[in-house]
C-alpha cells in the first residue's frame, strides 16, 4: 500500500466530487452522435462494435476499479460467465440468448457476492492478487470441465432466434445493443458521481479507515459496487459471445482480457465518466491502426503507449486534458 504524501503533492487523490452537470449533456450528445456511426462508417462497423462494447465493459469495471478504488484483475470471469451461460443455454436447452444473458447476469452477481464477501477484507495489491487467483482458477476449471463448457476446443453458437425481429449476428444490431449497454454503464457512472452511494464509494477509495469512522460500512458498500460492476460486465460478456460467435475458455477467461479492461479505464481516466470510453477508443482503435501500419508490432506499440501514459498522464488522459484546459 503506497502512501501518498498528505499535503497532496500528487493530485490523483484529490476528490473529484460534484464534477458538474455539463458531463450529462456531454454523455447524451456523445451517445446521440454514436447512433450515426453505422451509417457513417459502414465498412468499419466491426471496429465500432468492438470499441463500444469494450467501452461499456471498461465502464462496468470502473464502477469497482475506478469509483471504489478496488483494483480487480479478474473481471474476465464475468465476461466468461455471461458468454458461456448464454451460449450453453442456447445450445443445450434452446433458451433464447436474451434470457440466457439474464441468467448469466444472475450467476455473475452470485459469484461476485461470494468473491467480494470473502476477499474484500484484503486491501490494495492483495485484493488485486486475489482477483487474479480467482480468475485463473476459473479459467483452469472452465478449460478442464469439458462436459459443462465444451473444454479447450471451445464452442460455437448455432443460429439464434430473432430478437424483436432483429438478427443478432448482424453487426449493426450488435452495435446498437452495445450502445444501449454503454448508455446503461454511463448512466450508472453518472449516478455514482452525484448520489449518496457514489460518495460513499469515493470516500472508501480515498481513505477506507476515515470512511469507516464516518459510519460507512466499507465491506457492504464495496460488495454492492462489485455486484453492479459484475452484472454490467456479464451483459457485456453475453454480447461479446454473440459478437465472436465462437470462443474458448483460454480467451474468455484470460488474464489478458481482465488486464485490458483495467488498462482502458486507467488510460482514459479511472473514476471519471468518459475515461473508460476514451481508453477503449484509444486502445481498441489504436491497436487496429497499429495492426495496419506496423504489422506484427501492434502489441509492442501498445506497451510503449501504456508507459508513456503512466509517465506523462498518470491520472489518465481525460483528467490530463481537463487539467490542461483549466491551467
Amino acid at each position: 500500500m503506497r502512501r501518498t504524501p498528505p499535503s497532496g503533492s500528487h493530485p490523483a487523490t484529490r476528490p473529484r466530487i460534484g464534477a458538474g452537470t455539463s458531463s450529462l449533456t456531454g454523455a447524451l450528445v456523445l451517445l446521440a452522435l454514436l447512433t450515426f456511426y453505422p451509417a457513417a462508417f459502414p465498412s468499419f462497423i466491426t471496429l465500432g462494435v468492438t470499441i463500444v462494447l469494450f467501452a461499456a465493459m471498461a465502464s462496468a469495471w470502473d464502477v469497482l476499479g475506478g469509483w471504489t478504488g478496488q483494483l480487480s484483475l479478474g473481471h474476465a470471469v464475468f465476461v466468461g460467465i455471461g458468454a458461456y451461460t448464454m451460449a450453453l443455454l442456447v445450445l443445450r436447452n434452446g433458451v433464447a440468448p436474451w434470457w440466457g444473458a439474464m441468467v448469466g447476469m444472475g450467476a455473475s452477481v452470485v459469484v461476485a457476492a461470494m468473491w467480494g464477501g470473502v476477499t474484500f477484507r484484503l486491501r490494495g495489491p492483495y485484493f488485486a492478487l486475489a482477483s487474479i487467483a480467482v480468475a485463473e482458477m476459473t479459467r483452469i476449471v472452465a478449460n478442464n470441465w469439458a462436459r459443462l463448457t465444451g473444454g479447450a476446443e471451445g464452442i460455437s453458437l448455432p443460429t439464434l432466434p430473432l430478437f424483436l425481429g432483429l438478427d443478432l449476428f448482424s453487426r449493426r444490431v450488435e452495435f446498437y445493443m452495445a450502445l444501449i449497454l454503454l448508455g446503461l454503464a454511463l448512466a450508472v457512472a453518472w449516478w455514482l458521481q452525484r448520489s449518496r452511494f457514489g460518495y460513499h464509494l469515493q470516500a472508501i477509495r480515498e481513505d477506507e479507515d476515515a470512511a469507516m469512522a464516518l459510519g460507512i460500512n466499507p465491506t457492504r458498500e464495496k460488495v454492492w459496487a462489485f455486484l453492479a460492476s459484475a452484472a454490467l460486465t456479464s451483459l457485456g460478456g453475453s454480447l461479446y459471445g454473440i459478437f465472436l460467435g465462437f470462443f474458448e475458455p483460454r480467451g474468455m477467461f484470460s488474464l489478458d482480457l481482465s488486464v485490458q479492461l483495467a488498462l482502458m479505464a486507467y488510460i482514459g481516466g479511472a473514476g471519471t465518466l468518459f475515461g473508460p470510453l476514451i481508453g477503449a477508443g484509444l486502445l481498441v482503435g489504436g491497436s487496429e491502426v497499429l495492426r495496419i501500419y506496423f504489422p506484427g508490432k501492434s502489441l509492442f506499440v501498445y506497451g510503449v503507449l501504456i508507459i508513456l501514459v503512466v509517465l506523462f498522464a498518470p491520472d489518465g488522459l481525460s483528467t490530463a486534458v481537463r487539467r490542461a484546459r483549466r491551467a
Binding site: 500528487h10 483452469i140 509492442f300 503512466v310 498518470p314
Partner: protein
C-alpha cells in the same frame, strides 16, 4: 513409497528455481512496494540471453550464467532509473500499469529478435540422469538446484552481513527513517530492482535446459512468482524460499496424485487460502 519420494524430490528441485523467482519479486515488493507484473518476462529475457550466448558463442549454458546475471542486473537498474523512479510517489496502480507496459515491450522485443518458434537447446546433460538408490535425478535440474542453493546462500550473506544488505533491509522496513539515517534510498531502489531482474534472469537460465523458450511464456511465471511470494509473505525474503519449495512440491504431488491438467490450480488455491487466512504469509509474523 519410492514413487512418492521421487515426486517430492522433483518438486523440491523445481521449487528451488521457483524460490529464486519469488525472492526477487519479494525484495522488489518489500523495498519498492511495487507488484511487478513484468517479473516472468524478466525470466524469459534471461532464457533468451542464455540462448543467444549459447548459439552465437557456443558456450555451455551454465557457464554464461554470470553474463546473464550481469545483463539482467544492468537492465533492471536502467528500467528502474528511467521508468519507475519518476512514478515513485504515484498511486499504486501506476506502478502496476508501468510494469505491465514494460512486460509487453520486452516480450515483443524478444519476439522481433528471436521469432515465434519455440526454441530449445541441446546439451550433453539435457536428458542425462544419475541415481541414488532407487531415486533418479535429472543432471540439469541437479546443477540448477546446487546453483540455487549457492545463490540464495550468497544473497542471504549479503543481506545479513554487508552495509548494502543492511540498507536494503532498512529501506524495506521504513523508507523515510532509512533516508533520515543517511541511506540513499533512491540508489537502494535501483539496486533492488536490478537484483530482482538478475535473479529472474538467472532462474530463466537455470530452467532453459529443460523447457521450451518462447517470448510469450512470461505471464505464467509472473503468476508463479506471485504464488511463491504470497505463500512466503509479501516482502519476506526467507519466506519466499519456503514458498518456492512448497509450490514445487504441491504442484508435483497434485499433478501426480490428483490430476495433471489441474496442476496450476493447486498452487493458486493454496495462494488464495494463504492470502485470506494468513495475509502475512505462512512463515511471517502476523502484523496488525
Amino acid at each position: 513409497m519410492v514413487q512418492f519420494v521421487q515426486i517430492v524430490v522433483n518438486g523440491v528441485f523445481t521449487g528451488g528455481v521457483y524460490a529464486i523467482i519469488g525472492i526477487g519479486l519479494s525484495l522488489i515488493f518489500g523495498v519498492m512496494r511495487i507488484v511487478n507484473f513484468a517479473h516472468g518476462v524478466f525470466l524469459v529475457v534471461g532464457m533468451f540471453t542464455t540462448l543467444f550466448f549459447f548459439e552465437r558463442l557456443h558456450v555451455d549454458p551454465f557457464l554464461v550464467i554470470p553474463l546473464v546475471v550481469l545483463v539482467g542486473g544492468l537492465l533492471g537498474i536502467v528500467l528502474e532509473r528511467f521508468l519507475l523512479e519518476p512514478i515513485v510517489r504515484a498511486p499504486e496502480h501506476a506502478s502496476i500499469l508501468m510494469t505491465v507496459g514494460i512486460g509487453l515491450v520486452l516480450s515483443n522485443l524478444l519476439l522481433f529478435a528471436f521469432g515465434d518458434a519455440p526454441q530449445i537447446i541441446n546439451t550433453r546433460y539435457s536428458t542425462s540422469t544419475w541415481h541414488l538408490g532407487p531415486i533418479t535425478f535429472s543432471t540439469a535440474l541437479t546443477i540448477a538446484f546446487v546453483l540455487t542453493v549457492v545463490v540464495i546462500g550468497g544473497l542471504a550473506l549479503i543481506l545479513e552481513r554487508t552495509d548494502l544488505g543492511r540498507s536494503i533491509r532498512a529501506a524495506a522496513q521504513n523508507a523515510d527513517a532509512a533516508e533520515l539515517q543517511g541511506i540513499n534510498t533512491r540508489r537502494v531502489r535501483s539496486l533492488v530492482f536490478g537484483i530482482g531482474f538478475a535473479l529472474a534472469a538467472l532462474a530463466g537460465a537455470l530452467l532453459l535446459p529443460q523447457l521450451f523458450a518462447h517470448p510469450s511464456i512470461g505471464p505464467t511465471y509472473t503468476l508463479k512468482a506471485f504464488v511463491v511470494t504470497v505463500l512466503g509473505g509479501m516482502g519476506n525474503v526467507a519466506g519466499a524460499i519456503g514458498g518456492g519449495l512448497l509450490l514445487g512440491v504441491t504442484e508435483s504431488l497434485g499433478a501426480a496424485y490428483v490430476s495433471s491438467s489441474y496442476r496450476d490450480a493447486f498452487g493458486l488455491a493454496a495462494f488464495l487460502l494463504v492470502l485470506l487466512l494468513r495475509p502475512a504469509g505462512l512463515f511471517g509474523r502476523s502484523r496488525t
